[in-house]
Amino acid sequence: MRAGMRDSMLSYTLKIVVCCILVSGIFGIVSLRAEIRHVEYELGALQWELGGVLRERKDIMAERAALLSIHTVGQRAEGSLGLEFPDRSKVFYVKRDVGDIPYEASFRQK
């Protein structure tokens, strides 16, 4: 009789545990799916933000390329900075047999 009661209690407990596992499993799956959806929304928002940033980056890169164009640099250099295009006829004259160091270098030939 005691064995019978014990069996009956075990069976009852088992049923409750199984039900709990099933129910928590179902809730767990639903919760995970909701979490995934939430992450997808967040990623979507971040992707939208990324799109905006990349668009801005393209604008900046294009502006940089235009500012660095040799035409623009040349105009600024020759205009307000008063620079001249390199004259390759100006070279250092250095004697072949230099003798003792230090060397002297000059734009003008002695």
Binding site: R37, G44, A65, F85, P86, R88, S89, Y93, R96
Partner: protein, 579 residues
């Protein structure tokens, strides 16, 4: 007992019904219902096509893409078309009548108002909250931009409003630059908001690395502008090439255009004269004559040519020298560009042999340059030649060429006799920067090396005292080249007009040429000779280019000079990827 059985049976029956319904939904109607569900939360989105980038040989961007707004309207939601049209016209600067026509098309749900707006206009439109503002929407589109403006515009080309190529490498490399479209599956929620799909929605084309150098291109264009301004010329062309590889270092044409404004481009400005304009080359064709005479050994060393009369009769027609010359050696005939001497050489050669050498130099054939609309040129076949043809061809008439063909021929003399295949693209790279294709030099033997060596020396005399192109001389480096002054033939009147093509083609330094270059100026006023009009442009470009490229002088050893500075080349590793 009976009640409990009944209750159990009823409950079991309900469960069975539920199970049967589940089975029906999940097994029998599964496909239909699943498709219906997908349609509600999934949609196909077009991938955004982005053209590949174009770089110069040192990694500087020549063509890029921006994302810009285009504004559309849903006419079916417009309550007051006239008011909407007025506001939109004021904000976009577009014609009121055009917009009114579009917004009044009530049956349509999408009409473009204006595409690819600038930032200010887009900002104003987005801020507009007036009547019918809910009928306006925005679409992001790619806009092709050329940050260097008009620089190398003929070579790069341009695209239309739909980013389809219209000229230049944009056209000839369309398949590399623009991938075919595709679609991507995205998920959306009940409100239509797109959820993250994790995939890139942009489809990028491959990038191109050109052979040109922005610095050399700028130098060439600036000098050409100065020459055109000085001589009030109608048009001009400069092409600079590496004679050993066929890589085009600069290609400039005038008139020019701004590829950022494709709507305002004039047809004559878009014309790439370097490869499309045909002209009679005049004395620059004497390279072919000289090469043929040397290789065919039609005269013995020391032969002199009597040019004292200043004219020669062939086939009942008289040909003249510009200046009277005396008795000239073969080299002097070329140096002084004597037509009389040249025709005497041509008569000894004969038309067939001269024609065959012209073909060897690539005249009458496409150069194969990777740009669209190249002209083949014309060379009269021997069987169609007539009495004066040999005289005409000897001095560069009765043959039509492009500047590119002439430059290519002179490059053969510069590099030891090999005809290079000119090209403007060096590499094709993937959007991530990976090398996909690299173009190697393609050379064909046109002359013997000893012939080329002799031609170099003869052509160097042209820029020295006594020659016709002393104004092409570059300080510190010897130049080999030839002037050309040819009258322009008017096909409408079928006569030669009063206009001239003034040209100079050459290479420098003579011993180890770094660049070969041609300058052609059309319709110069005040002077017409190639040695006066085109040669100084050549010199200016060469001097500035050598300063830029850090090319040492030829007389370093003689003057005890020491070469300071690094080699011309890439100073930092260029980035070829789109990021």
């Amino acid at each position: 007992m009976k009640r409990s059985v009944l209750l159990s049976t009823a409950i079991s029956f309900c469960f069975v019904i539920v199970l049967l319904r589940l089975g029906d939904l999940m097994l029998l109607d599964h496909k239909k219902l699943s498709e219906k569900g997908e349609n509600q939360y999934q949609k196909l989105k077009d991938l955004d096509i982005r053209r590949g980038l174009i770089f110069d040989r040192r990694g500087r961007e020549l063509a890029m893409n921006l994302d810009v707004d285009s504004v559309f309207c849903d006419p079916s939601k417009v309550a007051s078309p006239k008011s909407a049209a007025l506001h939109l016209s004021n904000l976009t600067g577009t014609s009121y009548t055009d917009i009114l026509k579009k917004v009044s098309a009530g049956e349509k749900q999408f009409v473009w108002i204006k595409r690819k707006l600038d930032g200010d206009t887009a900002g104003k439109l987005r801020a507009y909250k007036g009547p019918d503002s809910k009928a306006i929407g925005f679409v992001t589109e790619a806009k092709r931009v050329y940050p260097k403006g008009t620089l190398a515009s003929h070579l790069i080309g341009f695209v239309d409003l739909d980013n389809k190529a219209r000229a230049g490498v944009e056209n000839s490399y369309e398949k590399d630059l623009r991938q075919k479209g595709g679609k991507i599956l995205v998920e959306k929620d009940a409100s239509g908001k797109v959820l993250s799909h994790g995939a890139d929605t942009e489809l990028w084309g491959n990038n191109l690395v050109l052979t040109i150098d922005e610095g050399l291109q700028f130098i060439a264009e600036r000098a050409l502008d100065e020459g055109m301004e000085k001589w009030k010329a109608e048009a001009g062309t400069v092409v600079m090439m590496d004679p050993h590889t066929g890589e085009i270092l600069a290609m400039a044409n005038r008139p020019t255009f701004d590829p950022n404004r494709p709507g305002s481009v004039r047809p004559e400005a878009v014309r790439n004269r370097a490869i499309m304009d045909l002209y009679e080359p005049g004395s620059t064709f004497k390279l072919v004559l000289a090469a043929a005479a040397i290789e065919e050994k039609v005269f013995s060393p020391g032969t002199r040519f009597d040019c004292t009369s200043g004219s020669i009769q062939v086939g009942g027609r008289s040909f003249h020298d510009v200046h009277k010359n005396g008795v000239l050696a073969f080299e002097e005939v070329i140096q002084k560009s004597s037509n009389v001497g040249s025709i005497q050489i041509g008569l000894k050669l004969g038309y067939e042999r001269l024609y065959s050498y012209a073909k060897k130099f690539g005249f009458g054939e496409l150069t194969g340059i990777d740009l669209p609309s190249e002209a083949r040129g014309r060379l009269t076949r021997p069987e169609k030649a007539w009495g004066t043809s040999i005289a005409a061809l000897s001095i560069g008439y009765e043959v039509s060429v492009t500047p590119m063909q002439v430059l290519r021929a002179y490059s053969a003399a510069a590099n030891g006799g090999l005809l290079p295949a000119p090209h403007v693209v060096r590499e094709v790279r993937s959007p991530g920067g990976e090398l996909l294709k690299k173009f190697e030099p393609d050379l064909i033997r046109a002359l013997k090396p000893e012939t080329a060596a002799r031609l170099k020396k003869i052509l160097a005399m042209v820029t020295e005292e006594g020659g016709t192109a002393t104004l092409a001389a570059v300080e510190g480096n010897r130049v080999s080249g030839k002037t050309g002054t040819a009258r322009l033939y008017d096909p409408r009147t079928r006569r030669y007009s009063g206009e001239y093509m003034s040209s100079f083609v050459g290479f420098v330094p003579v011993d180890k040429p770094k660049i070969a270059m041609i300058v052609v100026i059309k319709g110069a006023k005040g002077a017409v000779y190639g040695g006066v009009v085109a040669a100084p442009v050549f010199r200016d470009i060469a001097e500035r280019a050598f300063a830029y490229m850090n090319v040492p002088r030829d007389d370093m050893e003689d003057n005890n000079l020491v070469y300071l500075g690094g080699d011309y080349g890439v100073r930092e590793t260029p980035r070829w990827d789109r990021n």
